[in-house]
């Protein structure tokens, strides 16, 4: 009985893992499929291009669906995709043989993806997370090509170019380099019209995905802290048990927080 029960659980988990693998045959289309609003009708697979323009060697395509905007920039063998919704921005850079993706939410969490692998980050950017992001992005051909694109667009005042440069600043910020963001802020301030309205923060309910990202980053940090505790104090008799107890309490509290944050038990 117990063996059959366990077998069923394993089959269910394998089925779930198998169905969650992303397919990037059509990046723009798949980006439009991601995170559909609760109760919203299924979205079409392909973004609707509304306008195409050129700036030197770069071709921009702006598209969109209700509630989201997409931008695509193609230049010299590389493609840049960006999708913006009310609470999320997704950026994807592709060159032959390499791809890099950043997905960031307004809750301050980010996910980096590279050639099918992914890592989660908190935008509070602890030293550990910055090192993790740098290690993850190291040697990326896609990011190297994106540097060239950003350099080419630096002097452009087109809104599409500014959007690309904003993503460039964000990609650097998650890796601990805030210089491009500061440069962009200075450039924008210089062009800012006197009557421009500043963006304002608005209260927003946390969604399960935000809860999950916070939880995943937190338990990752707890595991690192546990390893550090064992390394630093493990030589003292009984301290391994103390470290384990501390880790257990913290992860159980995080787990109950996650359950509550995701809607709680239906009781």
């Amino acid at each position: 009985m117990a063996r059959r029960l366990l077998g069923g659980v394993v089959v269910a988990i394998v089925a779930l893992v198998g169905s969650s693998s992303p397919v990037w045959a059509d990046p723009v289309g798949v980006m439009c499929q991601a995170f559909p609003a609760k109760g919203a009708p299924p979205r079409p697979l392909v973004a609707i291009p509304t306008s195409t323009s050129r700036d030197g060697d770069v071709t921009f395509t702006i598209g969109g669906l209700p509630g989201e905007s997409t931008l695509r920039a193609d230049a010299k063998g590389m493609s840049f995709f960006k999708r913006i919704t009310a609470d999320r921005v997704q950026v994807r850079i592709e060159v032959p043989g390499d791809s890099f993706e950043l997905e960031a939410g307004t809750a301050g969490m980010a996910r980096l993806k590279r050639n099918g692998k992914s890592t989660l980050l908190s935008m509070t950017a602890t030293k550990w997370e910055v090192a993790k992001a740098q290690q993850f992005a190291a040697g990326s051909k896609a990011l190297a090509a994106f540097e060239s694109l950003a350099t080419a667009l630096e002097s452009s005042s087109r809104p599409e170019a500014q959007s690309v440069l904003t993503s460039f600043a964000l990609l650097h910020a998650v890796r601990g380099n805030v210089t491009p963001a500061r440069d962009l802020a200075k450039a924008v301030q210089a062009r800012q019209a006197a009557n421009a309205k500043r963006a304002a923060w608005s209260g927003r309910e946390e969604m399960p995905y935000d809860c999950w990202l916070s939880y995943a980053v937190t338990v990752g940090e707890y595991l690192v802290e546990y390893a550090e505790c064992n390394l630093d104090y493990g030589w003292i008799p009984g301290m391994v048990a103390v470290c384990t107890f501390e880790w257990t309490v913290k992860v159980e509290l995080a787990w109950f927080w996650l359950i509550g944050c995701s809607g709680g038990f239906p009781v």
Binding site: A2, V9, L16, S20, W212, A216, V251, A254, L258, I259
Partner: protein
């Protein structure tokens, strides 16, 4: 009453177990580059509850089995 308490204990143990399993599995999956999401919460919870209830019921039946003389 005793059975109700036993089931309640199994559920509480299952939830606690799922917390420990997820806390180990999620950073491991993250390090391996596997994408996780909120579904992992419910999948882990369901799996651990099934395991805890299955094991608990088995233990209860063994304890209640009349001992051979």
């Amino acid at each position: 009453m005793s059975r109700l308490l036993w089931i309640l204990g199994e559920v509480v143990f299952g939830v606690l177990l799922s917390g420990g399993v997820a806390a180990l599995a999620v950073p491991t999956a993250d390090a391996a580059g596997l994408a996780t999401g909120p579904w992992v919460l419910w999948a882990t919870l369901a799996a651990c509850l099934l395991v805890a209830i299955g094991a608990g019921e088995r233990l209860r039946k063994r304890r209640n089995r009349p001992r051979a003389a």
